[in-house]
């Protein structure tokens, strides 16, 4: 574990993303599929950073993607006449990160005192409550949402705007995924990771060891939330150029994130990538081959996988490579 080998597991991660990216660039007409897969991987990676590492299930996670989306949408729709050019996107990302961080701090201060099912239910409450606040108090246009395709075209020009939403937005999603992976590995290999490991295993014992559990939980929570904000800003706002509250505060996305993380293996670095790819590809093929029936097929498969392989794909892989030279690449 010591010295230079410490960060080796990033190699397969980067390789996986590079391959995916190359496939998207090389195979004609597969870019959006690749983008969708990257979105799932990034979603899994970002979610895993908190859920996988602390064992807390944030059922209202999608709220952070939602406010991130709003961060970008509000920025573009209000600053499009400012002649900022591409700078507007940077400001949008900044706004997304700031919005989601603020929300995470507020939620964290309240909900992180709870555990288990209580935490999960409280976070559902945050997501739903926040959505109804936006609709009820008519914040950010309320239920009318923001459609800013036109603003994006004003700010960047028609051609650039189109390239941004069909190509660069996806590259940003890749960026978020890689960032999440790097942060995950960095945390795993440093004190933060050990603190999180301790609190995941036994929170009381961790406290007694001198670990300020609240602080480390909040670190993981905010990191994860900020990444979600960036993901919302790129994968949803920039890509789709509109935002409606019911679309972005849809609790289904949290469930997808949980499925992805569990399929791959919670708390591992490569798990969310494996999970995201499997989830995305199988969903895609079912949507194509059996349109209208994919959920009917997919739901029992998920149950089967969870019951039969509870430790996830990377969990199994870790068991297989244990004691071989590949071990240091797999976490």
């Amino acid at each position: 574990m010591r010295g230079s080998g410490k960060y080796l597991p990033i190699v397969p991660v980067l390789a996986a993303y590079a391959l995916l990216l190359l496939y998207g660039l090389a195979a004609p007409g597969k870019w959006q599929l690749v983008a969708q897969l990257a979105f799932y991987c990034a979603l899994g990676q970002a979610f895993n950073l908190f859920m996988g590492m602390t064992g807390y299930v944030d059922f209202g996670y999608v709220a952070f993607l939602g406010v991130g989306t709003y961060g970008m949408a509000v920025t573009i729709s209000s600053l499009s006449d400012g002649g900022l050019g591409l700078g507007i996107i940077l400001i949008g990302f900044l706004a997304a990160a700031v919005f989601s961080t603020i929300l995470a701090m507020a939620v964290g201060a309240v909900a992180l005192r709870l555990r288990g099912a209580y935490f999960a239910i409280a976070t559902i409450g945050v997501n739903e409550g926040f959505r109804y606040l936006i609709e009820g108090a008519r914040i950010w246009n309320g239920a009318d949402g923001i459609i800013f395709s036109r603003h994006l075209k004003t700010a960047l020009g028609r051609k650039m705007a189109m390239t941004v939403s069909t190509f660069w937005a996806d590259i940003f999603v890749f960026g978020v995924a890689v960032l999440a992976a790097v942060l995950t590995l960095y945390y795993l290999r440093n004190k933060v990771g050990y603190a999180l490991l301790a609190l995941r295993e036994d929170e009381d014992a961790a406290k007694v060891m001198g670990i300020d559990v609240t602080r480390y939980k909040i670190i993981a929570f905010i990191t994860s939330a900020a990444l979600a904000g960036l993901l919302g800003a790129s994968g949803w706002a920039l890509k789709l150029t509109y935002v409606y509250p019911p679309d972005v505060f849809e609790i289904h996305y949290t469930v997808e994130a949980i499925i992805i993380v569990l399929l791959g293996g919670a708390g591992t670095l490569m798990g969310p990538i494996a999970g995201g790819l499997i989830y995305g590809v199988s969903k895609y093929f079912l949507a194509i081959t059996l349109p209208g029936f994919q959920l009917l097929i997919f739901a029992p498969i998920i149950i089967a996988i969870i019951v039969i392989f509870p430790e996830g794909l990377v969990g199994i892989l870790k068991g297989k490579v244990h004691g071989t030279s590949l071990e240091k690449f797999v976490i």
């Binding site: 009318d144 939403s165 679309d247 209208g292």
Partner: protein, 416 residues
Amino acid sequence: MKRKVLFLSVFLLAAAGMVLPALPCHASDGEILIGHPACLSGSYAKAGEQAVGGIQAILDWVNNTRGGIAVEGRKASLVYKYYDCESKKESVTSLLERLITSDKVHFTFAPYSSGLTLAGAPIAEKYGMIYMDHGGASDKIFQQGFEYVVQTIGPGSLYHAGTLEMVKAIDPSAKKVALAYADDEFARSVMKGAEERAAELGFEIVFNRTYPAKVTDLTPLLSDLKASNPDVIIGGGHFEDGQLLNRQLADLGIQPKLLSLIAAATLPAFGEALGDLAEGVMGPSHWEYGVTFSEKGAKKLGKMWIGPNQEEFVALFKKAVGKDMIPDYHAAEAGAAVLALVLAVEKADSLDPDDVREALGDLEFMSFYGGWNIDETGKQVGHSMVDVQWQKGQRVIVWPVAAQTGKPLYPKPDFK
């Protein structure tokens, strides 16, 4: 070892069995492919099911009754390729791109709803693909500068114009209008239109409140509404909350002279669900089973006519979905969008999207669905709505007078 190989091959076979039908289908010569990331599951499953049936019905008519499409000197037939986007925005983009690039479709259809239509628009624009919007009613879609988005559904702001005119014509003493509707983009744009039209016609808005889209109990809102004692109640948003609104008005004994619900009252299942309580309830509709648009009528107006007549369409629809299901306006507008494409392709005599888009811009025609004409942004302006009323378990078109299949029942009978 042998065992392993055996099992592996069995797995591969099973996997292959699942994947094989997914191989892209390319258009052979003489086929025109229409691609559609449909909503067959998730929140818009009901509308998606209808839309797919409507498209298949019209396809059947075009290929078998009409004998295909004349383009570039040959007769081409239409082929429909649809996937299920699960009413999810991520899937819309990837499936749409697959349709465009792998399946090499010639034209694309948008999924249902304004949001999902917007989600796919950048992809369609990128590939310069015609993108037929049959379920996104938002006016805002057409303020974004998209070039290939073409609307068939009428814009939301016009839904209640006829209803209010009807009240004014029949009962000038009715003044007080209450609006109670779902808090979402669609219902809001409809109600904004209604509000403006009501002001123009001299009505007084005595109540104007929304409720969350997936509501299960409206009692508090309705007791508030009851206090304002309106003559006319206009509201709704979706099918479920429309039913709920109707039901709970009756429960609370609120007796307006007129009740009009968007997107709910016009569907066949509405009367089935509410029974006697639906009596006299109205709703604006893009199309209705019973609308009397005909080839003759079109000729009278000097408009081009295409497509099956209404009975034929209903029969084709039932055949397409394989169930005894009555098509509603979701099916009709999706079907009408296909007819628009057919005419535009023949007019342009080309499959090139830009030529066809230009032809669509110039196109004006009538079909079982009614008029069809778009402005330069792609927004539908040629289609007018009809007002439907439930009378003795049947849906009767009561407004405009020209389309009437029965006299309006006004004031509506009290809820029992």
